[in-house]
């Protein structure tokens, strides 16, 4: 009987075991990015920029050249790399605290300049690494370490919808929000990541994929409940879909 390989580890990731908590979808999203880079055959021409937060060690996992950036500054670091090496692929991998809070200026201006980089934006509505504090993406009513009574719009304001905001800028080429909570959505997420890197390949401008993700540890839910929570609570607050496609179409 001959064995047929139906699935194998992508060459887009190293053999290093990841540090992510059980039930967190960072691992899935890493794999999607790795698979896209491998399938597009651009791993050797790619420089990734790691952020600060849970994905701080992502430079250990992506099988390409990597640079570690300071809190929120990944889009500025990526700008420096891409402007020197315009024929390489440059991506950032950022969480919501990194991108939407301390680094909101860097991502807005990179998008406004039309930097030909791809931003992988993982939104789990909370600060993970620092221990579950409120993020700009924390939902109204959501309890976190720093919103122990639930996020109150009159005190902490309302969540930032990053895709909707960046899509208004002329420099953005491809903006899509996807989710990693079940298999069909994970497949959609991979297609979105591919489209974002293809937009970079064509030199169309700034591309970003926001991926709704889980944080079982800080949400205080088990992995399955976390996936349900994404579906039931996050997707209504953060509608999925293509927000910008310079080439047209959905």
């Amino acid at each position: 009987m001959t064995m047929k390989t139906v699935l194998k580890k992508t060459n887009g990731l190293t053999d290093n075991p990841t540090h992510y908590c059980p039930g967190c979808t960072h691992g899935v999203i890493h794999r999607l990015v790795g698979e896209v880079l491998e399938e597009m055959d651009i791993l050797e021409d790619t420089i990734g920029v790691a952020s600060v937060g849970c994905s701080v060690l992502s430079y250990e996992y992506f099988n390409c050249d990597m640079t570690q950036a300071a809190h929120g500054r990944a889009p500025a670091v990526a700008t420096g790399v891409k402007r020197v090496l315009p024929d390489r692929f440059v991506f950032t991998y950022q969480g919501d605290g990194d991108l939407a809070s301390i680094g909101i200026s860097e991502v807005i201006h990179a998008a406004a300049r039309g930097e030909k980089i791809t931003v992988i934006f993982v939104n789990n509505a909370i600060y993970g690494m620092t221990g579950g504090q409120m993020a700009p993406t924390t939902l109204i009513g959501q309890k976190t370490a720093t919103t122990p009574f639930g996020r109150d719009e009159s005190i902490q304001g309302s969540p930032i919808k990053v895709c909707e905001m960046l899509a208004t800028l002329d420099g953005t080429a491809y903006i899509e929000r996807v989710s990693a909570h079940d298999v069909p959505h994970i497949q959609k997420a991979k297609r979105a990541i591919r489209k974002a890197f293809e937009a970079q390949k064509k030199g169309l401008g700034f591309s970003m994929v926001e991926i709704l993700s889980t944080c079982p540890t800080n949400w205080g839910l088990d992995p399955f409940e976390s996936l349900e929570w994404v579906k039931d609570n996050m997707i209504p607050a953060y509608p999925l879909g293509v927000y910008k496609n310079k080439e047209g179409g959905k």
């Binding site: 701080v56 060690l57 050249d65 640079t67 670091v77 790399v81």
Partner: protein
């Protein structure tokens, strides 16, 4: 090329371009904005790239990204903006990336004013950002010296994989003098085989990071950094001495103030006062040798600064109690006059003692 009349800020920019710096990321702030504007005009001529960032923070992080690819890259700012760059400078040190950062100092603290000052001395020589580190700091006193020190700053950066600070005051940035750009010979420098340019070159994956979660491992990295700082201290001290051989008193000053102090010394010498000058050119590493050589035979030193007394602390360390150390400083962007410095000299020395 012959001599050309140029503004200090523009001299730094041109010298950088001639030193092979083809990438500049900056943000406007007075009194260094001409440097940014010059780069915007000049870099496209040499096939380079100028980009105006959205903030000083973004600019230094663009420098970080570009430096990681192995090119010569620069940013510039003035005091309040330089403070914002400290985060990125600490990361450049931690990740061992070469870059040149210019600080054309103005009066502070806070928004202060746009007049010349030297009150960022502590910030540039004592670390500035978080963590244990030192950065080579070069402080030219004339526009011609800027030409030389700017290219040396890039060489030092590449030799040690470190950011290097070029520090001037607002007067140096704004003044005009004739300068000559000669042919420069670049010394042999280490290959940048650490640069992240994609693995296509040799199939080797490279990572640039300052993160090290393991305490012992980070200590090991820090010890290696400290060894590097020691090497820089050993090899990159720069200073000028003037008439210290027979001097009873030695003035200590850097940058613009050193030139004014020199005039006060000329006047004092004409009056028979035996006064000399030590002019630190590298502020870090601070030149200890000329103090060690003179401290047992002079009556005292006078540090003259455009600050409330910052370099004077390094002077005291170098003198180490062997002689008196006095201080004269003006702050808030006030430039001390030759006469003020001369009067200070008289009051310290007790006047003519021939």
């Amino acid at each position: 090329m012959g001599k050309v009349l140029m503004k200090g800020n523009e001299v730094i920019a041109e010298a950088a371009v001639q030193a092979g710096c083809n990438y500049f990321f900056g943000y406007p702030i007075t009194p260094q904005s001409e440097l940014v504007a010059y780069m915007a005009r000049r870099l496209p001529e040499v096939g380079g790239l100028f980009l105006q960032a959205e903030s000083e923070i973004a600019a230094i992080n663009m420098v970080y990204g570009a430096a990681g690819t192995g090119v010569r890259v620069m940013t510039s700012s003035s005091s309040p903006g330089f403070s914002l760059k400290q985060e990125g400078i600490s990361y450049l040190v931690g990740s061992e990336l070469p870059a040149v950062v210019v600080n054309i100092v103005r009066g502070g603290p806070g928004l202060g004013n746009i007049q010349p000052a030297q009150s960022d001395y502590f910030q540039v020589t004592k670390g500035g950002g978080h963590g244990d580190y030192n950065i080579p700091v070069l402080a030219p006193a004339s526009l011609q010296e800027i030409v030389e020190l700017t290219s040396e700053a890039f060489d030092i950066a590449d030799r040690y994989r470190t950011p290097v600070i070029l520090m001037g005051d607002g007067m140096l940035g704004q003044m005009m003098e004739p300068v000559e750009f000669g042919e420069r010979t670049q010394p042999e420098l280490p290959e940048k085989n650490w640069a992240t340019t994609g693995t296509r070159g040799d199939g080797q994956r490279r990572i640039i990071t300052s993160l090290e979660l393991n305490a012992e491992a980070l200590e090991t990295r820090n010890e290696a950094l400290q060894k590097k700082f020691a090497r820089i201290k050993e090899n990159e001290v720069r200073y000028e001495i003037y008439q210290t051989g027979d001097a009873d008193y030695i003035m200590v000053a850097f940058g613009t103030v050193a030139r004014i102090t020199m005039n006060a010394i000329h006047k004092a010498r004409q009056q028979g006062l035996k006064v000399g000058l030590i002019r630190p050119i590298s502020l870090w590493p601070f030149p200890e040798k000329p103090f060690i050589e003179t401290r047992d035979r002079v009556k005292g030193y006078i540090s003259v600064e455009m600050s409330a007394g910052q370099m004077v602390e390094d002077v005291r360390l170098a003198v180490n109690g062997h002689a008196e150390v006095d201080f004269y400083g003006r702050t808030g962007g006030v430039v001390p006059t030759q006469e003020e410095i001369y009067q200070k000299l008289l009051s310290v020395t007790g006047g003519i003692t021939v």
